[in-house]
């Protein structure tokens, strides 16, 4: 572990004989705890399985010292990626030292302290630059067919003068002149005036986003009314546009007292106004907290589980977001109407609804690359406050909220309903979630594009998208069918309550005992991968044969090769075998590397961990399943956290 940089302030701290308790059983393992500048690392002492747990400081949400027990001083650490670890440290002084060091490390005061600025994946500047160029939003708007005869690029925000939290490049109706834009922006919260975020070419219908109008009880703004008129006029298919206020009506009404509010249908011609009723960030934060509390209960009964799930309200909120997105997609694709979406500031609920709605309408966003583009567009560029919501820096607990997590979950719920519609699997979503909080890559740092430019992220940090694309194999959905996208360009999910399920693999991603012991996903991915490799081998051999001048076309199994010498070769199966197994060995070696790092989460490689946490499961006596399930071929979807580890070393 020498290669971990020792920073000036905290020297590497090592505590031996630390116990790690499993949170759902009475099991525990003993090992050594290392505290470094960036990670808290637990290394199991047991030499045979020796799991390692690496916890990035940025992932730690809270550290708690529990009351002293006979075996030592317990330290409870909760992470933003839903990992919960429970250490027992023999000596109280050590525990206190770790505790206070962590408290300090958890609260970086400046961006420069974030991991992204010290993280170095051994790439040169050119590779780094290429990584940042992967996603090009101008190209994305071009893909949608913008600019066109009705929509144009405006340079009004080139210097971030009209709206600080918007990107520089914005698309507006051609009939919206600069004075109209500026006037409208003054009438909107934080200057976030209506702009285009998605263009549905087939019907020339637009999805626009903004923040709430500063209408108070009676104020109006002609420019803003003009702006909406312009959006409406740009679409000849429909006489009206929808204005979706994604807040509950009560919240919007309350905002009027503060001089904000919502559009008065009398002042805006041809709008259809609609409340959607997604709760605010505080409700969502509370809801997740309740959910995690219930799910963290030991020996949870089925009744408590279901009641807890209901009382947390979490799935109700997920459904509300989904309902809104479906409404949006229907308005655009079925009615051909343009839609303007807003909430209060237009960076939380608005981002959720616009992004999810676009994903329903456009199969491109259901591919790996397209999904990156979607996040880059509706979340990053339009100023979802990642730094505040994900608690990156100097936290204000009231600003933290799982808004982006909810978006990822909505997408997951869709992947469950449409198993063939997405190029990626849930591991992709989970990995993105991991890195939104890891602060390892530059993409999600800060609250707006402007801030990111000030931080020179593109020069000083690396892009997550390049990293994910380099591991694309791990995130593929093996049953993805592009032809499904052709036959279902627009997804029409059912909103039946029973389709909304608890996302175990997200919220319990580190609680191994809860996971299916074998994964269809991994297995089928492996098969597919192997199919591809075999195909490659066949091709390579064919080429080789051709070089020798042998025609390969009429290879009939029954025809024995003519020039075969005596004695007749053994069974062809055996002949084929060495190479096959060599390949396997090769594969194993390849996997080994990943396996090393993935040990923690690759259940099959550590037989002793494969247990049932049943009612009666007490000790780790369930170690029956040793290396049973093709572990060696499992792709390294498990590198979730170890992506971090690998890069550091």
């Amino acid at each position: 572990m020498e290669h971990i940089r020792t920073p000036k302030c905290v020297s590497k701290y090592v505590v031996e004989q630390v116990k790690l308790l499993d949170r759902f059983s009475n099991k525990s393992v003993t090992g050594t705890l290392h505290l470094t500048a960036t990670h808290l690392i637990f290394v199991e002492s047991n030499s045979t399985s020796a799991q390692e747990i690496w916890i990035l400081h940025h992932h730690i949400a809270s550290v708690e010292k529990l009351s002293l027990t006979t075996s030592g001083c317990p330290l409870l650490i909760q992470c933003r990626n839903f990992r919960v670890v429970h250490f027992v440290i023999p000596r109280e002084r050590d525990c206190h030292d770790i505790y206070s060091s962590l408290l300090r490390l958890l609260r970086p005061v400046s961006y420069d302290e974030l991991y992204a600025f010290s993280y170095n994946p051994k790439q040169n500047d050119q590779q780094r630059e290429e990584g940042w160029q992967l996603i090009d939003l101008a190209a994305e708007f071009e893909r949608m067919g913008v600019p066109c005869d009705q929509w144009q690029l405006t340079d009004v925000n080139r210097e971030y003068k009209v709206c600080e939290t918007y990107p520089r490049d914005l698309y507006v109706p051609i009939t919206a002149s600069k004075p109209i834009i500026v006037g409208s922006s003054k009438f909107r919260s934080k200057g976030r005036f209506p702009v285009l975020t998605y263009f549905y070419q087939e019907k020339k219908a637009a999805v626009c986003r903004c923040s709430q109008p500063l209408s108070g009880f009676s104020a109006r703004c002609l420019e803003d009314e003009h702006m909406l008129q312009a959006i409406s006029k740009s679409n000849h298919n429909s006489r009206y546009i929808y204005v979706m206020d994604t807040r509950p009506k009560l919240n919007a009404l309350a905002n009027r007292a503060a001089g904000k509010g919502y559009e008065n249908e009398d002042n805006y011609s041809n709008i259809r106004f609609q409340f959607v009723g997604i709760e605010n960030i505080h409700v969502m934060r509370g809801s997740l907290q309740k959910l995690l509390e219930v799910m963290g209960t030991r020996s949870l009964s089925m009744t408590d589980y279901l009641v807890g799930l209901e009382n947390s309200g979490w799935l109700r909120h997920i459904k509300a977001i989904m309902d809104a997105a479906i409404f949006l997609a229907r308005a655009v694709t079925v009615e051909g109407a343009s839609v303007l979406v807003h909430c209060s500031d237009g960076w939380d609920r608005t981002a959720q609804v616009c992004a999810l709605g676009s994903l329903l309408m456009d199969p491109y966003y259901r591919t790996i690359k397209g999904f990156m583009v979607l996040i880059e567009k509706d979340w990053i560029s339009f100023g979802h406050k990642f730094a505040d919501r994900c608690d990156q820096l100097d936290p204000d607990p009231k600003e933290v909220s799982p808004i982006f997590t909810q978006f990822l979950e909505c997408v997951w719920q869709l992947t469950e309903q449409f198993p063939q519609a997405f190029e990626f699997s849930e591991w992709f979503l989970i990995q993105i979630h991991e890195h939104v909080h890891s602060c390892q890559f530059g993409n999600f740092l800060g609250n707006s594009q402007r801030q990111r430019e000030d931080l020179q992220l593109k020069e000083r940090t690396y892009s997550l998208w390049a990293h994910l694309l380099s591991e694309k194999q791990n995130y593929l959905n093996p049953v993805y069918s592009p032809s499904f996208a052709e036959s279902h360009p627009v997804l029409e999910p059912s909103t039946q309550a029973y389709h909304f399920k608890f996302w175990r693999n997200m919220y319990h991603q580190y609680d191994r005992s809860m996971h299916p012991r074998q994964s269809i996903l991994k297995h089928v991915l492996t098969l597919k991968e192997s199919n591809r490799e075999l195909e490659g081998t066949v091709q390579a051999l064919k080429t080789k044969l051709q070089k020798f001048g042998v025609s390969t076309s009429p290879l009939k199994p029954q025809t024995p090769p003519r020039e075969r010498s005596l004695p007749p070769r053994p069974q062809s199966l055996i002949l084929g075998a060495p190479l096959l197994s060599r390949k396997e060995v090769q594969q194993e070696e390849d996997e080994e590397v990943i396996g090393e790092e993935a040990r923690e989460d690759a259940p099959a490689s550590t037989g002793g961990e494969r247990t049932v946490e049943g009612n009666s499961a007490t000790e780790n006596g369930y170690g029956e399943l040793k290396e049973s399930f093709g572990s060696k071929n499992e792709p390294s979807v498990v590198t979730l956290e170890f992506g971090v580890a690998r890069m550091t070393c």
């Binding site: 309550a497 029973y498 297995h523 089928v524 066949v538 042998v550 002949l575 009612n615 399943l625």
Partner: protein, 556 residues
Amino acid sequence: MELSEHIKTANVEDVTLKRPFHPALRGTLCVTSHHLLFSDRKDEASWQLLILLKNIDAVEKRAVGSSGTITIKCKDLLVLQLEIPGMEECLNIASSIEALSSLESVTEMYPFFYRPSHLTLHGPWGLSSTEQYYKQTERLWDRWRVSTVNSDYSVCPSYTSAVIVPREVDDDKLIRSARFRQGGRFPVLSYCHHRNGMVIMRSSQPLTGANKKRCKEDELLLQAVIDGSELGYVIDLRSAQQAQQARMTGGGFESKSCYSHWKRIHRHHERGKVVQESLIKLVEACNDPSHSVDRWLSKLENSKWLSHVHSALSTAGLVVECVERDGHSVLVHGSEGTDNTLLVSTLAQLILDPASRTVTGFLCLLEREWIQAGHPFQQRCAHSAYSHARLKLECPSFLLLLDCVWQVWRQFPLALEFSEALLLRLAQEAYASNYGTFLCNSEQEKCAAGVKENTHCLFQSLSKPDIEEQYLNPLYEPNDLAIWPSVHPQSLQLWTGLFLRWTEYAQNMVEAREEVWSIVKEHREKAGPDRSNNTPSTHCDTLTPFENLMDELTIL
């Protein structure tokens, strides 16, 4: 024939059929003695719907002007609507369905008339008998024997004629033990673990009664089971309190003082009516399109179905823990020993025994533990979730088993040779079938009705070699170890394949499954049969392209 007397109107034209997620169809409706037939056209390519009348759980009729609407709710959870012109026809059809779907006489049921051309009635019935099972299981030969004490079903009417018992216990002792157990269900062998020879026994409760009766022979029988080893476990599927209460009505439990080498563990399991009501509530919740997430979750919770799944799997895990991890033999029983007992012993075997995870092995397991062990299918499956009839002895124990097996399959998708489709088929067949397998309540009744002579056996037709591909799990990889499922509530799920079977959601799943199949097939084609375990082994003359090329290269 008397069945036809129930049919007043056999044919109606211009009937409109409505099914969930399908456009309405117009056509002809026809009622026969055993079927409801709907056909949309008279030409060759017509679409037909054929429903066994026995599959119909409830019929609801409603008059709309001069025509009537019949809603048909099937035991496989499908709901259909028929709009029938003419009030009289409508009422006639409805009453025919009602009468014919609730026939009580076994020999009038359809399996006695089902005569497909590809099956013959001759030959052995069923997959395996107790004697055959014993012969095939070498590890039993030493300490266990087949007893035919029940050959005339007089000792225990619900057992088969042959049972496996400890070698050293003679038939007289068995008869006495049987008198001491409810329904005569004395402890018999259910499974002998291939790793350590430990066994799972099952029985009904002992009849100790209020004054703590004892039965020497019963105690000896159990003593013989553990044969010198220190300890056995009695897993009593009732709470300690319930077991105590059972003494007041003549039942009871194995007390520590009389069975000193057996340790009792109580696990509460709901039974009978309660479980049936759970099913009804769950299906009602699944069919109600109106509710919010909150209401859905509260209804799901309220049905308690998943709680039953949870307890069944937990207790099975406990049994497995005793047998596999701790190396002790186990006796499982509740009260009657015909429902939860079988549920737990079956699940424990599925978890423990690799042989029970193949298609044939699983069907044999069901045959042993449910058909031969005397689960009263006719009583339990008389009605399903929709019936308005007053509940009598209905209980979806078997459905609960299939749900639990599905949960195991979800957690070990590579470990079972069969697919979800097989479980769904079994769920359907248990309630309404062309085959005789699930008829009657016991082997004795089957013999009396002549089931084996006059009907076909479902398990035979489902098992290999001509098993349909859809019943196979493409990802199956045999594995020798116990497959311990996780029983955290978070790890268990609603069996959407069954309970949401008739929703649009199912279609997407079918397509995804087909895609998995095609990937596996491609892999088999490319990688050759030696790498895939469950293709019938082919010979060297069918080479994969890969091997062909290898051939060529070695020659060069």
